[in-house]
Structure formats: structure tokens, C-alpha cells
Symmetry: D2
Subunit: 382 residues, 4 copies
């Protein structure tokens, strides 16, 4: 008899859909002792909550997240709201003893994040943050190659996340689907939205980042605010670049923007080690590029691994199709739910926990401080 | 109130899984009046049927497909068996008035296919064959560009489907997961398995193929047969190449093999028109390459379209994520179910119907005849 | 004291320029005992001969190739005329005891080629045909990898040479720069012009081709003939595709056309062996793609070798620049002259000799015969 | 009658060879009123000078550059020495009224550069610095597209130059071929060697750089010095990254290193404008990637232009081969000589002049200052 894992979902946007799809798929592709049950969907607007619940198969709805948290039949609270609600909901859920899966970034600031970490650790509730890119098979394979010690001393880590969807100056800030442009809801612009992903992957693959020096820019200074109906100053960063040094001595070069014409969601990272280099690109997410210096000289070159073998060689892929058939972006969430459940069953929590994600908040704070002060900033150890 | 569409699935292998995933996803991503219900899974082995039904959420099982077809609560029969069972099951299902979704290739031979077409047309049951690549958004976009008349006169169509998984001579033929190597179960080798896909796409995009001249090869002449326990002659084609001429005057060059080291499932096609050329590659299925001769000379070149915009520009993608985030191979099945349902609702059946797929059988027969006779063969018009 | 090698060049078009550049470069990049001297340039039109000689530094001119051949101060005759003059010039040059470097294809037909081979062999004069692609470093590296036995049993060899420059139906045939469209001057269309290159490389890399089955097409049936001023029937093949079998059991798939919109000079080849596959593309001529099955499973993939290391690992490159800096198409001719001279000095003639190139003529004849007869044709062994 | 342009070459290394090849080629590919004459080669070691002169066809040699400059039969002094000699030679050559072609970077420091600019401007001698990448046809095409106003407002400019050849810690510093590792001879490490190229292209394409913030690293702290025979502290920067702001409001992200395993000479730049983005990569130098936002939505994507058309569409290419046939790195020098001569003939000097190159020195100084001070630095206007 499978153990039910009753999910209460707060939010119904892009991430609400992505997580719901994962909950529905996980049992078929990664069967376990647990069975995810879509118990309740919560949104302030009852009609929207109903429509979402009907479409995705949630058994019930709530319009007040506090009521959702109060329900005894809910095991897991999934926080898919704008960033400014993460903390309050997470604290309440922790207090109610619920497991918590929180969308990234964990918090608006490191200070908020610290409170959230303390809350879940005090409550001893399983917790995780949806930095889903760790579970793209090609990225997970990169992690394995690094853990196996194949790269040797690391010299460089560079990452960028380039988009172009906010170039139009008549795009409003705020409101449905546009809260990412509203500093009050999002806390920051590309740094919290895009760089956060780059940082999470980087510290997972390359360890602690020690110092940073950053620059931000807001190209479009004023936009109509959909919630107020007025043209208002834009508070977010449209672009954020930073240099830095990792604790292992390697150099960091990070960049994110929503003004790189031609790039939809070009998240790339490259790590250069003494013996091997790795490169990944979200636009071709099923491939990992590697250069292996140990190859014989005459046949040395960059290799493109099509990470689609249904074998243990390629993380997660043994559970999908046959070699050559790529899975999508969405599968990364399915993998994350599978790992969360595996963590429950094994007792070793799946990463990134709130604590892991807090490290990213510390770096984000340092980056934004540096951009403001125009100085190098040391990332605190906690 | 959604109308239930009760599916009875026969088979539980690779395609059984792929179709089941699509049935489960379609309502969330392509909502309609119909609601797919996974009513029954059928397999000769009760234990396997049970395990599959449990994992995928089928409500019941059957161990005899005739009983499944006899059930009044089944609307759709999905045939995911080896090829040698397609005809018999389809005829019975048609006789019982069931809708039929049949895995490709439709039949073992064109003669078999003809009988099946006649049966479904006489019974007037909705029918479709799972040539899923038509519903990869990049391929569907290619179709749209052709329909819009952008290519002008067509000169060339070339396609190949290259794999490398049967190079090992100690791989057995026949038995679980290996029936594709057994001519008795599969009818043919790469021609029915791989070329069939290439042909289906080609006639959809470029019209009737008139004449062909083919060559086949069986590199490994004998293999252990898992069902008999004996080393037996291999009856399938390991590789099949053909040239030909389309009715529109363009030249065909097709190739398929399971002996192209380094290629997992490299299905590519290219069409060269007077004004525009198109190229697609299953290994990067989310991209369509186009060359537009109407571009200004100095900036003319091959363009890689990342077919991931959630807008009507990119077929099916408005129903998925945000720009830049690729969907997987699996989504092509979800789209096919969505289109099948849309066909039921609109009255215009989704292609390829059995009749459409029969044209592919005629070509496959001509190809195999040509390889045997070493002569050019005319493809009959029906 | 370097030995002079006095060149008499016949022709001043594209190839006349490419060879002259090579003669001028070879001493700087591949110094040897010999010193190439540009002794005389020959063209029917004295003014054009003079202009060419001045621009390229030829010491003198001739307007009658017979006179050029008669000159005692000429060691090497370089034949850069249209194909229909190759035989006559080569026979005269051989009779005069001159070394001969002849543009490809060697001859209009195999019969012509046989006469030419006999002539140079009887005269014992050093001879070579300008199949320059053998000397692209990436292609030479492919040859080395094959010779080292890395590929194992070969299953497939496919090559294509795609262009798009004759799609315009108002392009004339014949006359300056357009003799390649005139069957009287060229002998054939894409088969002699483009396929000849593909075949030369193929038999060098993969051995004898045993049987072929071909198809040709002339898309534009009539064109203005510049020399007659009349619209005349086009006698050349615009496209030529063939299948075949090599003596080593591998399958051939070759295609060439001047109607593949978007491709300027896309010569590609791929060879699939049991243990390794290789791919090369003239549009990125400095790269060789390899797939090495002996790589560990988890990091197996296609590797792009940037064949630019100035080390013995990368053929010819030790004589050029530093790693990462590509050489151009033109360098292949420089390499060929260097190898021709090295052949003179070592006594082992550089390939392809007239005899080597004659094999390509035999295949071309078989291909055109097959296209005409619509039958499989055996390539004679000589 | 062509006007002789007598060249006196100082140095015989990598650049001495590259320039000499250009001098020899220019008359054939870019004929003009001038005829370059290789008059004299100069090196301290007479034997080396003689060998170089013989191989490349210089008419005479000198062992003292002052004597070379004093010769009346020399029109142009080409400075191909290590950086620490540029100033002294250039001042002497200017004083002698010679035209000067100086290898990049112009000088060891901006202060040195200023003196050199003043000298050539006072002497009114034609002068140019060998930033050859401006003359790669794909890069020149980028310049044209920008000049035509196609990009609109610029948001981002990023460039990197990645190599991996100094990772080995037992590589000596100093001495033959290794002076680039010796701070006394080179002035700096990757900043002057690699970043200088990136900066030259950037200011040419995107205008003045206003402020920078940089970080440098020396990974290998000590190396054997070949000239002293002792292990000495390494004074150069092994890696240099900087951020900055251009005067036009766009953001800069630059990086260079010799520790990026897998990259031989990966110089890339990307510029993101409101309406168009451009990307170029030295490893595939014959291609320019463009994204044109004005393309229709459904066929919008990155386009790879194979910049090899022999037409005015593709800069310089009308003088080379036929479409599809790439030229090499070396051709960029041939183009630069052609443009230098065209500048002499037209009266409009070819760029970059010493003054143009001085701007790069100002930025390099600012970058190194910033790395040292760990502060943002304003680039002086002169």
C-alpha cells in the first residue's frame, strides 16, 4: 500500500503548473512507497482556484492559505506565490508542522531567508527549494564528473542567464504574470530571478563563493504599474553582472539580463579545470559539452554528450524512453519531486534545502550591495 | 461536464508508456470537452498487466484483447503490440465499433494495410496511426511554412534515421523488447521501424512519392533467437537506403540503419525549395533550421529557430511553458491525442488516418521489392 | 642551392589562381630542396595571359599550349583548362617528358583517362591530379585514424556535395566561367565536378567501390548558350545521387546537386565503423568530428576536433600558425604542391596519380551508365 | 608602372611570418598601384636573419635595427619585436620619416603610447597597428551592419579570449617564443596580449568605454626564467576579467585567460542591440551569427552567415575564391596590408592608427589599475 503524500498548492501560475505536472508524473516514472495526492489548490480568487483544480485534478480548493495550512489532510505545502509571500507562508507552514517546498528564490533578502531556515529547522520539517536545474540530467552528470575528481584544479567558472522579453518599454510592471518586474513583489529583478539559478548551480558544482564585485543596470527607468494604473519608477535590476572569487581559488564571471536580444532563456555555465572543462546550455538542455585533456592529443576536442541513454550512465534517464529521445524542461521538476520523496524514504534530505538556498541569498545580497556601493564585497559565511 | 473517452490499451512496452503519459497529460495542457479515462490495460501476462495498470492508473486489466474489445465501457482501442498483431486486433475492434489508435507501422504489408483501411472505413470508426513526429512543434512549423507556399518549387527531399544499437552481434533476436529484430513479429527491420517515420513525414510535407530504387543489407546474418533458444538466420533488414522521385519532380534520398555508430536516434530531414530550405533533427527536436533565400544577400544564412515560444507562432507551444524552455519527445504524443480529440469534436479527423498510413505501406512494399529485385519500382496509386 | 622547378601554367581561372597561390606559398611554409619558379603562363588571349602573368609573377607568357610544352625551360605542365582539353594537353606534355599536374576530373570519360594513364606511365613522368581535399588537415587526419585501424569494420560511407548556384534559370551555359554548365566542355555536370571529389576521398579512405545504382536529373532543361547565342538543350546533370556497395562490405550513399538552396559548397562525408565514426564538412573545413565508441559510456559523444595544433598531431599544421588559428581552403593546394615535391625527392609519388584518379573515372562512368540504364552497374576493376 | 613599397621587417617570429605572407599575397589578391617589395629582414642573430630572409624572399638582412631604419631604400618599418622594443624603434623610425606598421599592443603603457602617437603625428608618417581581427570578413561585416544602424540602442557588449596553453606549471617564462610570459618583455600578460584584441574590436564596433572594474589573477606564481636560468616570480596576469560601461550606455563584460582548458584561441564577441544581435567566434572565423528581431516571429532565430560569397556583400571576399570556400586567419593580414596601401593611395589612412590604438592602451591601463586598486576606474578621454 503506497503512503499518500497530500499536497496543498499555493499559486496557479507558471510554477504552479510545472510542479503539478511533476506531481502527476512522478509515480509513473519514479515509483516509490509514496503516492502524491493533489489534495488542494489555493488561490485568493475562488474561480481561478476552481479552474486550476479542475484542470489539474486537485481534489479541493482554498482561498486562504492559512486555512490550507490548517488542514490536517495536507502533508506538504508548495509555495508558488510571488517572492514577497514566501516568508510568511513558510513560517506558518513550519509552525503547523508541514513539509515545505518553496519556489526559488527562497526569500526577498538573506535576512528573511535566515528566519525561514531557523523556522524549518526548529520545526524539523522536510523542506526544499525548487532550484530545478540541478535535476536536468546533463547538469546532474556534470556534478557527477566533478565529484569523481575528473576536473582537477578549477580555474574558472562562468555563467550567464540571458533573456530579452522586457526590452519593450511599454510592457507594464506588476499584475498578473508581470510581478517579476515589480520590486515590491519580486524583491529584485534578474538577480533574484535568473542569477539565483546560476548561483545555486555554481555553489553546488564549485563550492563557496568568497568575494564579489557587481554592476547592475535598469535600462527602462519607468513603466506603467498595472496595479496602480500609474507610470512608476522601476525598482528592479534589468541586468546584473558580477565577478568574484570562489574559495577554491577559481574566478567567477556571472551575468544576467533581460535585454540580450535573441536569447529566450539562455542559461549557460562553463567550468574550466586543469584536466577537464564542462559546458551546459539550457537552450539545448539534453546535451553536456566536455573537453577531456586526458584524451590523446590528435583526437582531443569538445564533445557533445547527448544525455539520453536509458542506463545508469545518464542520471534519471533509465526511467524515461530509449537512447536519443530527449526529455523536456518539465522533467527536471519530476526528478526533483522524485528526489524529495527518496529523501523522505532514505532519511537523507534532498538538496537544496532552505539552508542550502540561504547561501544563494547571502550571495545575492552581496551582489546587490556591491552594485550599490561600487566596491568588492565579502560574502559572509552565514 | 466533460465527455469521458475510455481507453483500452493493448501492450505495456515503450509505446504503451508513451501513449499512457500522453493520455494523462492531455487534459491539463490541451483541455477539451473530452476527458480521457484510462479504463483498462491488456496484456497476456496478468501480473505484468496489473503492474502496468497500477503504475499508470488504469482502472482495470484484461489478459485477452478480445475481451477488452468486447467491453462496452471501452471507447478507444490503442494497439501497442508487435506489428504482427495489428491487423487482427484492428479488424476485431472495427467490427466492435471502437475507435482505433494503432502504433506504426500500420501493418506488416500493404496488403494487410488495405484490409485494415477497408475495415475502419466500412465501420466508420475514428482511426489514427501513431506517427508522432508530425506533432513535434518544429516539424509542424515546417508543415506550416510549406503550406504557406514559402519554399517554391521543390528540388530535393532527403531523410535519414540512423541508430547504432544492434551492432553487437551477440544481441539476441526476438523476445521481450527485442521483437523488432524478429522478422516474424516485425515484418521488416529498419524499413518498417525507422524509414516508416521518414516516409510518413515526407509524404505529409512533400506529397506523393512516385518511384523508388532501394538497397538493403543485413550485416549480422545470424543471431540467437530468444524464443526458440537457437541461433537462427536474421530475416530483417539492418540498413535500407533508397532513391526516388516525388510526383512534384523533386528527388528523394532516404536512408535508415541501426549500424551508424554514434547515432542514437538521428532522424533528420531536409527539403530544398527554390526559395527556402528546411532542416530538422530529432536529436535537437526543439529546433527548426531554415534558409530563406529572400533574405537580403549580406545577411543570408541558415537560421536556427528555437521553437519554444508560447505564442501561436510556434505550434502547440502556447499551451506549455515560457519561451526558451524545451518540451521533450513525449509531448509529441500528447499533441497527437489532443489533435485526435479535436478531430472528434470538429468532425475533421486528425491525420494520419489508417488510409494516410496505408500510403506509407505502399512505399515500404515498393522499397523492399526494389531492394530484392534490384530494379526501380513504381509506387502504386492505391 | 635549391633546384628550380619551372612551372608552365595553362589557364588563368579559379584553379589557375588557386594553384599559383600554392606555388608561391610552398617554399615559405614547406621548404625543400626544390624551388618552384613561375616560368610561364599560357592562355589563348595574349592580353589575359599577360595580365595574369603580371599579377601572379609568371616570368613569361604563351598563347599556344603546344609552344609552352615545347619549351625546354619548363619542367611541369599544370593543366587548368576546361575538361575537354585535359587529354590532348596531357598526351603532348607526356610525350615531351614533362611532369604533369592536371586539374580534376582527370578526363571526360574513363576511356580518355585510360589513354592518359598509359601515356604518363609510358613516359615515366611524375603526374598528379588536383583532388585537393585529401590535403585539408582534417581530412588527412581522418585518413590517419582509419589507417591506424581505429574504426573497425566499416558499415556505411555517405557523402554529399551540395550547392545552389545554378537555380536561376536565366543563367547561361558556356562561356567564361560558365563552361561547367556546357556538356561539351565539361563532359558532365555535378558528377564530374562535385561527385568526383566525393569519390576520390571515398576510395582513398574506404577502398574500392564495387557496384553503384544512380539517378540524375536536369532541372533546367534549356539555357541560353553564351558561345552560340542560342537557347540550347542543357546536356549536363544538375543533380546526381547514387547508392552502392564498397568491396569491404560497407554501403555507399552519395549525392551531389547545384539545387540545394542554402548550401554554397557543402561537401560532407561520414564514415561509420564498428568502433569509431568520422564526419567532415567543407563549410567548417578545419574541424573533424569523431565519435569514439571506446570512450567510457557516460562521456561518449561526438567530438569536434579543431584541427589547428601546430604539432605533428595535426597534419601539415606544424608548418603554419599557432593552435586555434584556422587556415583556409587555399592551403590544401599548398599542401598538395609540398607533397608533390616531397614525392619527387623521396621517389614515392604523391597521390592521387593519374592512375589513382582513373579509378574515379571508372566510377563516374558507372554512375552515369546506371542513371541512364536505370540499373545497377558493376564498376570494372580497370 | 607599380610604385615599390619597400619593407624592412624587424623580427622573424610568428608575426614576422604572418606579415611576410601578407606582403607576398597582397599584390595577387588586392592589386593596386603599389608593389610591396621585401627589402630587408632584421634580427640580432645574423644566421637567423639570413635563414628567414632566404625562406621568405627578403632581398637583404640587417642585424641592427638602427641600421635598417637608416637605409634610404626602406619605406616601411614593420615592428614585430617583443613589446618592450616598440617605442624605441617607432620613435627612431618616425624620426627617419619611415612609415610604421607596429605589432599590437602598441606599447607597454599608455604613457609610452602617447609618446609614440606624438612622434608619428609630428613626423606625419603613415602608421598603423596590427589589430588584424578588424579585417576578418565576418568582423568587418559586423561593423557594416552596425554602421547601417541595424542594431538600434545597444544594451550589452561581451567579449572573451580564452586559451589554455600556459596551464603547465613547468613552462618557462622568457626566451625564444616565450617572451609573452615575461613581464619585462611583454609589459603584461593576457591583458596586453589577448584583451587588447577584444578592446580594439569593441571600441571600433561600440565606441568609447567609459569606466571599468577589473580583476586579475596569476595562477602559477613562479616559473623558471629561460634567460636567467632561475625560478623567478611571474609578473604577468594569467587571467583578467573586467566589467564596464560604454559611453553609449551599454554594459561591458570582458574576460581573457590562458587557463581555460579546451580553448585554443577562442576569441568571441557578442553585441546585443534593441533590434539585432551579433556574435562572432575566432574558432569559426568565417561565420557571423546574427539575430534579427525584425524577422517575422515564427521564423525568428539565430542565423549563421557563412561569410564566403565572392560578392560585395561579404567584405574582401570578392577577391578570393567562390562561395563556400573559407579563407584562413592569415588572410586578415593580407587585408590589412591591402587597406594600408589603399589608405596611402586615397589619402584616408587605414585604421587603427597609432592614435586609435592608443585608446586601447588607455583602457588597458585603467583595467590593470582597477585590478590593483580593487576599485572602479574612469578611462581618461586622452
Amino acid at each position: 500500500m503506497p503512503k499518500p503524500l497530500n499536497v496543498g498548492m499555493i499559486g496557479y501560475g507558471f510554477m504552479g503548473r510545472a510542479h503539478s505536472n511533476a506531481y502527476k508524473q512522478v509515480g509513473q516514472f519514479f515509483p516509490s512507497e509514496h503516492k502524491v495526492v493533489l489534495k488542494a489548490a489555493c488561490a485568493r480568487d475562488a474561480e481561478k482556484a476552481k479552474a486550476f483544480a479542475d484542470q489539474w485534478g486537485y481534489e479541493s480548493i482554498e482561498t486562504d492559505w492559512r486555512k490550507l495550512i490548517a488542514r490536517k489532510d495536507i502533508d506538504v505545502i508548495d509555495i508558488c506565490t510571488p517572492n514577497n509571500l514566501h516568508k510568511e507562508i513558510a513560517l506558518a507552514a513550519a509552525a503547523a508542522g508541514k513539509m515545505i517546498l518553496c519556489e526559488k528564490p527562497l526569500a526577498m533578502t538573506a535576512a528573511e531567508g535566515k528566519i525561514m531556515v531557523d523556522a524549518v529547522e526548529k520545526a524539523k520539517v522536510p523542506n526544499m527549494v525548487w532550484y530545478n536545474y540541478r535535476r536536468i540530467p546533463a547538469v546532474t552528470l556534470a556534478k557527477k564528473l566533478i565529484e569523481e575528481g575528473r576536473l582537477g584544479k578549477i580555474f574558472h567558472y562562468r555563467a550567464k542567464f540571458l533573456q530579452d522579453w522586457t526590452i519593450k518599454s511599454d510592457l507594464p510592471q506588476g499584475g498578473q504574470g508581470l510581478w517579476r518586474l515589480d520590486v515590491a513583489a519580486a524583491g529584485s529583478g534578474v538577480s533574484g530571478d535568473l542569477l539565483a539559478h546560476c548561483i545555486d548551480t555554481a555553489i553546488w558544482l564549485n563550492g563557496r563563493l568568497d568575494t564579489v564585485c557587481a554592476m547592475t543596470e535598469t535600462f527602462v527607468k519607468e513603466r506603467m504599474h498595472n496595479l496602480t494604473g500609474k507610470v512608476e519608477k522601476v525598482g528592479i535590476d534589468d541586468a546584473c553582472t558580477f565577478m568574484g572569487r570562489f574559495e577554491n581559488g577559481s574566478l567567477a564571471n556571472f551575468e544576467s539580463t533581460r535585454y540580450a536580444r535573441g536569447h529566450k532563456a539562455l542559461y549557460t555555465f562553463e567550468i574550466n579545470g586543469e584536466n577537464m572543462s564542462l559546458f551546459w546550455d539550457l537552450h539545448d538542455l539534453h546535451r553536456l559539452q566536455i573537453f577531456d585533456y586526458k584524451d590523446e592529443g590528435k583526437i582531443r576536442g569538445w564533445k557533445s554528450i547527448h544525455v539520453t541513454d536509458n542506463s545508469p550512465d545518464h542520471p534519471y534517464m533509465a526511467n524515461w524512453w530509449v537512447p536519443g529521445l530527449a526529455i523536456g524542461y518539465d522533467a527536471s521538476f519530476t526528478h526533483q519531486v522524485a528526489d524529495f520523496i527518496a529523501g523522505l524514504e532514505s532519511g537523507t534530505p534532498a538538496s537544496p534545502t532552505f539552508r542550502d538556498a540561504y547561501e544563494t541569498q547571502l550571495i545575492l545580497d552581496a551582489v546587490l550591495d556591491s552594485a550599490k556601493s561600487e566596491k568588492w564585497v565579502h560574502v559572509p559565511k552565514d
